[in-house]
Symmetry: C2
Subunit: 196 residues, 2 copies
């Protein structure tokens, strides 16, 4: 089983393939990208690639899981809670802003809304879990009196997540006109009793 094996093979192979997959899928999505193209960029043949990832769908799944690991690591270990989490989401570290990772997220999230799409389940699950994480953080903040009393944590979580998703698209389309952190701050600060 090579899936987690790290002995007896070129150590960077899987990583090389994942990076190539990120480049291709983030530009063309699942249907638009081809395994051949990814293999070529990773410097091996298509059959060689499929030895590491048995199908295109599983390759995309691995790329997305890898992306999630990066995101989780950048959020900090252990993951912050309450307003600390919100602050990290509003002003993300530099790496999160690389176009490729953001595009991968935007494109797969959109493709995944279709029922038959290979990542449909994954996208639904991730959306729900992100909403849940943000809602919990807001509830903890509320318990500490950091939220205005008339603010609904669940509704605010939906709002904040939607805002982040939408602003990402704007930033990809018109980077010079976007101000993700500023817009998020302006929207959130009025709901808080403390400084963001």
């Amino acid at each position: 089983m090579t899936t987690h094996g790290r002995r007896g093979e070129h150590l960077g192979r899987r990583q090389q393939i994942l990076a190539a997959g990120l480049a291709v899928f983030s530009s063309s999505g699942f249907h638009g990208g081809s395994v051949r193209d990814i293999a070529r960029r990773a410097g091996l043949s298509q059959a060689g690639l499929l030895h590491h990832f048995p199908s295109k769908a599983q390759l995309l799944g691995a790329v997305l899981t890898w992306r999630d690991d990066i995101a989780r690591r950048e959020l900090g270990e252990p993951a912050p809670d309450g307003l600390d989490l919100i602050r990290r989401l509003v002003a993300p570290p530099a790496v999160t802003r690389t176009q490729e990772l953001v595009r991968l997220r935007v494109i797969t999230s959109a493709e995944g809304v279709a029922f038959g799409h290979p990542v449909h389940g994954y996208v639904r699950h991730r959306q729900a879990s992100v909403l849940d994480m943000v809602r919990q953080a807001l509830e903890h903040a509320a318990a500490r009196g950091e939220l205005r009393q008339d603010v609904d944590p669940a509704g605010t979580a939906r709002m904040l997540v939607a805002l982040m998703d939408g602003l990402r698209v704007q930033w990809l389309l018109h980077p010079e006109q976007a101000d993700i952190t500023g817009d998020l701050r302006r929207c959130l600060q009025p709901l808080l009793t403390v400084d963001l």
Copy 2:
């Protein structure tokens, strides 16, 4: 030139094809959908379809233009301005909510962020023009004193558009947990001096 010809041919043909294109592109996007599939659903052969729309890219373009016409018509003629426009955006008429139209918008917007994609230019242009329309409406509302004085029309327009985009995705993924109109209202009302 059959592009706008409406004599000497089955009057509903183009419309049938556009409807089939909507169904396919809204499920699979540009790369995932095939002209053959669209033709089959429209009840004619692939070659027959390509008589009406000379290429796949131009077919998608026509479907998007058609969608825009529907959206414009539902917004009202002439298009409302100021807070009236905002009210229409926050509480859209029933038809706008059909999943297919919303999915088409979500999927093409995301696919179109990639540089080489056939609708890249279209998506960039539409995003800019929507932002512009909303910003103008907010400026007019501000001139009438309907906005709180510390509210920035341009920033609020970015926020509102991003929010709508993100909430659409949430609604597609978890329709039962979404409340687009409510969330928009909760977010906007605090910025206004009058009832939404």
